[in-house]
C-alpha cells in the first residue's frame, strides 16, 4: 500500500495528501441535493470513469471488507460510506489516487503519498481533476475560482495536508510552539490527530494549508515544500539531539518498546503509540544486528495502529477483542521476515 513506502522525509511526514474539490454547474452541493440529483451526479461520474477506464464503485454495493479496504487506505471516511449516503468512489491508476463522488463536493480527487513529495502528489491529483474538468460543466467564477461547498476552500479548491509524527518535537521543551509559529507564518493549521490529554498519543498531528485565494497553484506548492521541509528539519534535529544527549535512555526505551510490540498480547492505542514513538526516535540511532526493523515496517505499524475500519466499527466487543487483535497485527509486522 502507498503508505508503506519509505520515501523522502517519510520518517517524519507519514503522508502528504492533496484534495481537489470540483462541483458541477446546475446542481446544488451534495448537502442540499435530492436523492435523484445524487443519482444524476453518480451517473455523470460513472461516465467519466468509464471513458478514463477507471474502476467505479458505488458505496451502497460494498460489503464490510470492501469498506474496510477503502477506509484503511484513507480513500474514504466512515460517513462517506454510510448506508443512504449515495456516494461512489473511483480508483485511480496509481496506488494512493482516488475520487470521491457526492461527498462534500460532487467530485473530490484525492492523492496520497508517503513522505513529503508534494509535487508528484499534486501532479497526480491535478491530472485526474483536469480530466473531469474537461468533461463536465464546472462551477467556476473568474473572480473566486472554483466554487466549493466549504467556503474556506473556494479558489483553487485544493486542500493540502500532511500527517506528521513528531515524537522528537514533543519531547523537546518549546519545540512545538516553534513549529506552530512557523506554520502560522505560512498560514498552515496544526491539530492533533487524536483529541485528548494523554501525552502518549500526542505525537501525531495533521497540518493543513489554509490559503486557496490570492496564490496560484505553483506558489502553493513552493510554500508547501518549505513547510514540509521545515517540519522535517525541526523534528530531525530534535530526534538527533535527544539521541545524542540521552543516548542510553533512547537505547533502553528502544529495546523495551521493541519487546512490547514484538511479544505483547494486548495493546491499547496509547500504549502502542508510545512504543512506536520510541522506535521512531531510535531507528537511526540504535545499531543492532539482532533486532532489525525497517522504516517500511515502522510505517506499516503506524498506519495499522492509527487507521483501522475494523476497530472503529467494532462497537460492543471493542474493549476485549480490539486490544488483542491489535497486538496480534503488530506482532506480525514487527516479526517481519525473521525466521
Amino acid at each position: 500500500m502507498w503508505f508503506e513506502d519509505h520515501k523522502e522525509n517519510s520518517e517524519v511526514i507519514l503522508a502528504t495528501r492533496v484534495n481537489i474539490s470540483r462541483n458541477i454547474k446546475g446542481f446544488s452541493f451534495p448537502v442540499k441535493m435530492s436523492q435523484d440529483e445524487k443519482e444524476n451526479v453518480i451517473g455523470m461520474a460513472r461516465q467519466v470513469a468509464s471513458e478514463l477506464d477507471l474502476p467505479f464503485i458505488r458505496t451502497d454495493e460494498l460489503d464490510d471488507s470492501a469498506k474496510a479496504d477503502l477506509f484503511n487506505k484513507y480513500y474514504a471516511d466512515i460517513s462517506f460510506m454510510a448506508e443512504d449516503a449515495k456516494t461512489a468512489a473511483i480508483l485511480g491508476k496509481k496506488d494512493g489516487v482516488c475520487v470521491q463522488v457526492n461527498y462534500k463536493d460532487h467530485i473530490t480527487v484525492e492523492s496520497l503519498t508517503a513522505g513529503s513529495d508534494i509535487r508528484s502528489a499534486y501532479r497526480d491529483a491535478e491530472d485526474l481533476a483536469v480530466e473531469f474538468e474537461k468533461r463536465m460543466p464546472i462551477a467556476f467564477s473568474e473572480k473566486r475560482g472554483f466554487l466549493t461547498s466549504d467556503i474556506r476552500n473556494v479558489g483553487t479548491g485544493a486542500q493540502i495536508s500532511a500527517l506528521i509524527m513528531i515524537p522528537g518535537i514533543m519531547k523537546t521543551t518549546g519545540a512545538l510552539s516553534v513549529l506552530s509559529k512557523r506554520l502560522e507564518k505560512f498560514e498552515w493549521n496544526i491539530k492533533p490527530l487524536i483529541q485528548g490529554n494523554d501525552v502518549r498519543i500526542n505525537s501525531v498531528y495533521i497540518i493543513t494549508n489554509m490559503v486557496t485565494l490570492g496564490v496560484d497553484e505553483k506558489e502553493l506548492l513552493d510554500r508547501t515544500e518549505s513547510v514540509l521541509n521545515d517540519v522535517t528539519k525541526l523534528e530531525r534535529s530534535c530526534r538527533a539531539s535527544i539521541c545524542k544527549k540521552k543516548s542510553a535512555i533512547v537505547e533502553d526505551q528502544y529495546y523495551k518498546s521493541y519487546g512490547v510490540l514484538r511479544y505483547g498480547r494486548r495493546l491499547e492505542l496509547p500504549e502502542a503509540l508510545l512504543h512506536i514513538n520510541w522506535l521512531m526516535l531510535g531507528a537511526d540511532h540504535v545499531k543492532d544486528d539482532e533486532v532489525s526493523l525497517s522504516w517500511e515496517q515502522i510505517h506499516k505499524l503506524v498506519h495499522t495502529v492509527l487507521r483501522r475500519y475494523e476497530e472503529i466499527t467494532a462497537k460492543g466487543r471493542k474493549t476485549i477483542t480490539v486490544p488483542r487483535e491489535r497486538a496480534e497485527r503488530v506482532r506480525e509486522i514487527v516479526k517481519g521476515d525473521e525466521a
Binding site: 462551477a139 518549546g174 507564518k185 492533533p192 483529541q195 490529554n197 489554509m210 485565494l213 518549505s226
Partner: protein
C-alpha cells in the same frame, strides 16, 4: 487565520487555541456555554483559564457582526446561520446571497482575495524551481515568503515571573510544587504559549487523579 469551528476570520490579537485547535472568540464563548450544559467534553474543565480569557475578550458591545441572520438562499434554503456555524454553503447561488455578509470577511482574511489559480482544464507547471548552489544550503531570499504576521508581539514580562517560567520549563515537572505549576500555567497562558500551559495543566490534572 480562520476559526476551525465556524470558518470565521480571527483577529490576530485574539487567537484562542484549545487542544491545538484554533477558534474564534465567538466560538469560544459558544463552546463554553455548550460544555457547561453537556459536561465531559474535551473542553470541559480542560482549560481553567479559558473562562477568564474569553471573558476578557467579551467586550460589552452587542453582537453586531452577524446581526442579520434572516438571510436565506432562495435556491437551496441555506441560511446565514448555517453558513456561520458550519462554514458550508448549499449551492453556487449561495455565493451571491452571502457575499455581503460572511463571505466577504472570510475572503478578506486570506489577504489578497483575488483568485490567482488556473482555469478549468488547464495544467499547472509543477516542476521544482532550479536553485543555484547545493540543495542543503538554504538561501532565505529564495524561500517563498511567509504570509505577513498578523499577531502583535507579546510584551516582555517582568524578570521574576519570567524566571519562574524558564526554570520550570527546563525542570523535571515531577519536581515542581503544585502552586508553582499553577503559577507557571497562568504565566504561560499570559504569554499565549498554550501548548506549554496545557502541559502544566495535564501534569496538575494527573496529580489530582493520582490522589
Amino acid at each position: 487565520m480562520r476559526c476551525e469551528r465556524c470558518g470565521g476570520p480571527i483577529d490576530g490579537n485574539k487567537i484562542i487555541r484549545l487542544n491545538g485547535v484554533t477558534i474564534c472568540e465567538k466560538c469560544a464563548r459558544e463552546l463554553r456555554i455548550d460544555t457547561s450544559l453537556m459536561g465531559g467534553s474535551i473542553l470541559d474543565q480542560a482549560f481553567p483559564m479559558l473562562n477568564e480569557l474569553t471573558n476578557a475578550f467579551l467586550n460589552p458591545g452587542p453582537d453586531l457582526e452577524f446581526a442579520n441572520t434572516k438571510i436565506r438562499c432562495p435556491k437551496c434554503g441555506t441560511t446565514l446561520r448555517d453558513v456561520e456555524s458550519s462554514g458550508q454553503v448549499g449551492c453556487i447561488e449561495c455565493y451571491n446571497v452571502f457575499n455581503e455578509t460572511v463571505l466577504k470577511k472570510i475572503l478578506k482574511s486570506q489577504g489578497n482575495s483575488e483568485y490567482k489559480g488556473r482555469n478549468p482544464g488547464e495544467l499547472t507547471e509543477t516542476e521544482a524551481p532550479v536553485r543555484p548552489g547545493s540543495p542543503d544550503e538554504e538561501k532565505p531570499q529564495e524561500q517563498p515568503k511567509p504570509a505577513a504576521p498578523r499577531r502583535a508581539k507579546s510584551t516582555p514580562k517582568e524578570p521574576t515571573k519570567k524566571d519562574l517560567l524558564e526554570r520550570i520549563k527546563k525542570a523535571d515537572l515531577g519536581m515542581i510544587s503544585d502552586s508553582d505549576l499553577e503559577e507557571a500555567m497562568k504565566l504561560a497562558a499570559e504569554k499565549e504559549d498554550y501548548d506549554l500551559a496545557a502541559r502544566f495543566r495535564d501534569e496538575l490534572k494527573s496529580r489530582k487523579e493520582d490522589k
